[in-house]
């Protein structure tokens, strides 16, 4: 019973590893695509630019798709959510395109990045949001945001002067724009929900 954390060479995986270890999810950092098999769930983190993430992640694309098609629960976090979409204004590289839509820059009318704690507006039932309410705060830090073509994937949004996709879900695919590993007890609750779902 373990959760793979895809370690594709961007940023800092210590926090997500630590949080998964804290909830006894048995995290394992996976640095080679061929090792991405036999896990109960896969976490795709991401920091820095969309293009840099995609360039580094591209060698994992095949094995991630296999996991997705095999029904393995997958959780994208922050830029790890954005790269699930078709493309981003940030970089010319194409995204994975698993969810149709664009990633666009936050408008000049707000401070960029959005940095800090914001509440959710829950749009639909999703396994990872069990026990989470509209009063709970999560830690966001991002300069771009996802705009799905099909709004039925939206599990929760957040209000930053405009509506921002905070969580999406579709079958075994989940993603959050905020950082559950840095969002205190409620963030850990989301990771626990994901872990519980992987063991269903």
């Amino acid at each position: 019973m373990t959760i793979a954390v895809v370690d594709y060479g961007v940023g800092n995986l210590f926090s997500i590893y630590n949080a998964l270890e804290h909830i006894e999810a048995g995290p394992q950092l996976i640095t080679e695509p061929e090792d991405l098999t036999g896990f109960d769930g896969v976490v795709v983190p991401g920091v820095g630019s969309f293009g840099r993430c995609m360039r580094r992640l591209s060698r994992f694309e095949g094995s991630l798709r296999q996991a997705l098609e095999a029904g393995t629960p997958i959780l994208g976090i922050c830029v790890g959510m954005q790269i699930l979409f078709d493309r981003s204004e940030e970089s010319p590289e194409e995204g994975l395109g698993w969810i149709s839509g664009d990633v666009i820059r936050l408008p000049d009318s707000v401070l960029v990045p959005q940095m800090g704690w914001n509440t959710l507006s829950i749009k639909k039932e999703a396994e990872i949001l069990e026990g989470i309410s509209d009063e709970d705060f999560f830690y966001f830090v991002h300069s771009y945001h996802c705009v799905p073509e099909d709004r039925s994937v939206l599990a929760a949004t957040t209000d930053y002067g405009l509506e921002i996709a905070a969580a999406v879900s579709r079958e075994n695919l989940f993603a959050v724009q905020f950082h559950p590993e840095k969002s205190g007890e409620k963030g850990l609750k989301i990771l626990e929900n994901f872990m519980r779902f992987t063991r269903c």
Partner: protein
């Protein structure tokens, strides 16, 4: 709606095992406050939104001690951890991230070699790069100086480095704007005139920076009670308030400060 953040700051002397939290007045007169990871855990449990660790040691063994402080803290504290003080190179940056930090704050090194801001932003993202500015109020005018109306007349603010021991001649407000252009994700703005005084934040200074940058500004220096935090949030565009002494010496809990603010209409995470 995004909440205003409350950030306890731990000034760490790392010359002893585990390190110790200390607090000075106007960057001098040091007083001992506790063990870093223990205080950090307490603040996390009280509802701190983030924690800043600043290394104020000058000894060479400090790097290993700071890493172990961060590593221990990050096992139990699941909010953003920022680490600064003594970061000289991108290798130093990598080593604190590896230990579990989420952000680094740079001050002296950024003033001496501004490109480090872009280097951090490129590798870890802008959000991971906090530029700390220690600003000292100065009378008089001059080229390239941003003048700010203050109760003591028109002033400019000078950047200090080396922990307040040396001055640069650099205009603090102009530097904040340049730091933003280089890729800083946040400005940690400390008033050296107010630091440790309990007289409240420097509102003209804070406003002057908030009005000129489009990235979040953390107000710092001078917080003596919850009223001061209310004041800085209601009168300036600061995204966060940083305080040390009021939390360290048990005068206010983070939770008490947040309740005080919420009762007065400030949007905070409770």
């Amino acid at each position: 709606m995004l909440a205003r953040r409350i950030i306890p700051c731990l000034d760490c002397d790392l010359a002893v095992p585990q390190g110790r939290v200390v607090k000075g007045i106007e960057f001098k007169q040091i007083r001992y406050a506790g063990v870093p990871w223990e205080l950090a855990t307490r603040y996390y449990e009280e509802g701190a939104d983030e924690i800043v660790f600043l290394d104020i040691t000058a000894s060479s063994e400090r790097r290993e001690t700071m890493k172990s402080v961060i590593r221990t803290t990050a096992k139990n504290v699941f909010i953003p951890l920022a680490v600064g003080g003594g970061i000289k190179s991108i290798d130093d940056v990598r080593s604190v991230f590896k230990a579990g930090a989420d952000k680094v704050t740079v001050n002296t090194t950024a003033l001496k070699r501004p490109e480090i801001i872009s280097e951090i932003a490129e590798e870890y993202g802008s959000q991971a790069c906090v530029v700390a500015i220690d600003a000292k109020r100065r009378d008089g005018t001059g080229d390239g100086r941003v003048l700010v109306p203050t109760p003591k007349g028109e002033s400019w603010f000078e950047c200090s480095f080396y922990g307040g021991r040396e001055f640069t001649g650099v205009d603090a407000i102009a530097w904040a704007m340049k730091a933003e252009a280089l890729g800083a994700g946040e400005i940690l703005l400390t008033s050296m005139d107010r630091d440790g005084t309990y007289d409240g934040f420097d509102l003209p200074l804070t406003n002057a920076v908030c009005e000129r940058v489009r990235i979040p500004v953390i107000a710092s220096g001078g917080c003596g009670n919850a009223e001061h935090i209310f004041e800085v949030f209601s009168k300036t565009g600061a995204s966060a308030a940083l305080a040390a002494s009021i939390f360290h010496y048990g005068e206010w809990g983070v939770d008490e400060v947040k309740r005080y603010l919420a009762e007065r209409g400030i949007h905070v995470r409770i």
